[in-house]
């Protein structure tokens, strides 16, 4: 298991901060590349299919002159797919796009919450600046230079990109099943304390407390002699061990 990624820390009323692992320029650029390919493929596919259907033959040439129907049904939707891909999908998929989902990142506010519609649209409006002068030059430079890997749109909308959960429910249960013992938290603390203070307790107290614990968590009285302290301790250690 790798060490936790550098992240954003958000204060909480519980006193335990919410820790969000931040996505860096690499993950963000990778997600963008996937999204770029998806939207180009979709837009081109629409254009090609639309033109083939419009022409009613195997030809991809545009009609001569300005034809309204061809423009409205073929060109316009392809442009809409290409230019509104990010804002529409981020709003509909709650801060995600197919590329972000593939990389395992999503957009949240600096307070760890889901951004509102306004914030998501604003971060996309500022792509105009981030994409200057070419190939997201401004955006990439800002991401490299800022501590939280922010582009101009993120600064304007107060958003960050963080990694999504990498651990599935099944993985958690599998991991837990290997370690879970028979004790609950209170029992585990008592058993641990008892083991720690074993030497400082009088022998009767050691045996009495161990017997009570074993009775409570194993449901049966141990058939051991009160004088056999080593056996009592071994039983207690087995109970406490995951």
């Amino acid at each position: 298991m790798s060490e936790p990624l550098p992240g954003l820390s958000v204060d909480s009323v519980t006193g335990i901060d919410v820790s969000l692992p931040l996505a860096g320029p690499g993950a963000r650029a990778f997600a963008f590349l996937i999204d770029w390919h998806v939207r180009v493929i979709l837009a081109v596919a629409w254009y090609v299919l639309g033109t083939l259907i419009y022409n009613s033959r195997l030809a991809l040439n545009a009609p001569l002159g300005h034809e309204r129907a061809w423009f409205a049904t073929v060109v316009l939707p392809a442009l809409v797919i290409y230019f509104l891909y990010h804002p529409l999908l981020e709003v509909l998929m709650r801060g995600r796009t197919p590329g972000k989902r593939k990389v395992g990142i999503h957009v949240v506010t600096r307070h760890g919450e889901l951004p509102g519609v306004g914030a998501l649209l604003i971060r996309n409006v500022f792509r105009l600046i981030d994409s200057l002068p070419v190939a997201y030059g401004v955006g990439l430079t800002l991401m490299v230079l800022t501590r939280d890997s922010l582009r101009c749109g993120d600064m304007a909308a107060g958003t960050v990109l963080v990694y999504e959960r990498a651990v599935t429910d099944a993985e958690l249960l599998q991991s837990a099943a290997r370690r879970v013992g028979r004790l609950d938290t209170a029992g585990a603390e008592i058993a641990a304390d008892l083991l720690q203070r074993w030497g400082s307790l009088v022998p009767e107290a050691r045996v009495r407390l161990t017997r009570q614990l074993l009775q409570r968590y194993l449901g049966a009285d141990a058939d051991l002699s009160p004088a056999d302290e080593l056996q009592w301790r071994a039983r207690l250690e087995r109970l406490a061990r995951p």
Binding site: I16, H66, L76, L92, G116, I129, A176, E237
Partner: protein, 337 residues
């Protein structure tokens, strides 16, 4: 320290903690349901608050007992999701859009009022400047208009005449509205350059408008140009001033950030003003359609164009003040004793 290498006490505590994994899963699933708006159950919402405390408690233990474990990672995510759900509520696109149009946009407009006044003044002064310049030095029109446009006006014809014979209205509309939206967005975004980019775009557009009127006026075509512009121009020029106002607000936030700091100030200004831009983009789509279908069409008389222009402007005011979606004017403040 990992649970595998810890002392018996820590191993026992870690094991006891992991026994609660099914509870974490239930809490996470509940938070997910509530976040997506798939649960209207009040009991679920109340239990989320309990889940939040439970996850916080267990996460604190997991961070201490098994910092590099899958369980800690799972808890971090479950806790973050519970936190977001508890503090933000369910994600509902409809109510989000409604809040945007009924509450956030009118509030942003009120906040922007002084900027709108200033940017309108700058735009009008630039237009007056352009008009005065070309009236005094007619040759300067070459700075603002293309040779084709100049030749057309000099031959006694507006460049807009016969436009529909060249390009169909639908294509013309899309070209125009795309251009207008991009210009407005740039006027807004360039506020990022401490407001200078915004002022530049406002100034240039004002100069061009004034210069064009002065030039066509010299050739007796000012009435025709007014007739062409009035239907779509009321909203188009207002939106230009609105985008400029939003950009100017961003510029001021960067120039005078206050105690919060420049980045925070920029964020607040952008979030506050950006919502106005979204309405502006929608309004420009309408203006583009009018400019493509109505403005170049000689069958529409001037009176109809004025009615369309003023009517659409009224719709814009209703949209931006939230009245279009049922927002009522704030009641007057109670009189003092």
């Amino acid at each position: 320290m990992s649970a595998d290498t810890a002392n018996p006490r820590e191993r026992a505590l870690a094991a006891a903690l992991l026994a609660r994994a099914p509870t974490w899963q239930q809490a996470d699933a509940r938070a997910g349901r509530l976040a997506r708006g798939h649960s209207e159950d009040a009991a679920d919402a109340v239990r989320l608050a309990d889940d939040y405390r439970l996850l916080a408690h267990d996460l604190a233990r997991a961070r201490a007992l098994m910092p590099a474990s899958r369980a800690r990672e799972y808890l971090e995510n479950a806790y973050a999701r519970a936190h977001a759900t508890l503090h933000h509520g369910a994600w509902r696109l409809g109510s989000g859009l409604r809040r945007l149009l009924v509450e956030e946009t009118p509030a942003a407009m009120r906040w922007l009022a002084p900027y709108i006044l200033w940017t309108t003044l700058i735009f009008v002064l630039s237009a007056c400047g352009g008009y005065a310049l070309v009236r005094r030095y007619p040759d300067l029109i070459a700075l603002f208009a293309s040779p084709d446009m100049i030749a057309s006006v000099e031959s006694g014809k507006l460049w807009t005449q016969g436009m529909l014979n060249v390009v169909p209205s639908s294509i013309l509309s899309v070209e125009i509205l795309t251009n207008n939206i991009v210009v407005s967005l740039f006027a807004y975004c360039l506020g990022f350059l401490f407001g200078l980019g915004t002022l530049y775009i406002l100034g240039i557009n004002g100069l061009m408008l004034g210069a064009a009127f002065a030039f066509v006026g010299e050739h007796g075509l000012a009435g025709q140009l007014f007739s062409f512009i009035v239907a779509h121009g009321c909203v188009e020029l207002s939106v230009m001033c609105l985008s400029g106002a939003a950009g100017a607000a961003i510029g001021e936030a960067l120039i005078r950030p206050g105690a919060a700091g420049r980045l925070e100030s920029f964020r607040v200004a952008a979030l506050r003003t950006g919502v106005v831009l979204l309405s502006c983009a929608v309004l420009l789509v309408g203006a583009g359609l009018i400019e493509g279908f109505i403005s170049p069409d000689p069958r529409f008389p001037l009176s109809a164009r004025i009615v369309i222009g003023l009517g659409y402007w009224g719709l814009m005011v209703a949209l931006l003040t939230g009245r279009l979606f049922g927002r009522r004017a704030a009641p007057p403040a109670a009189a003092g004793p």
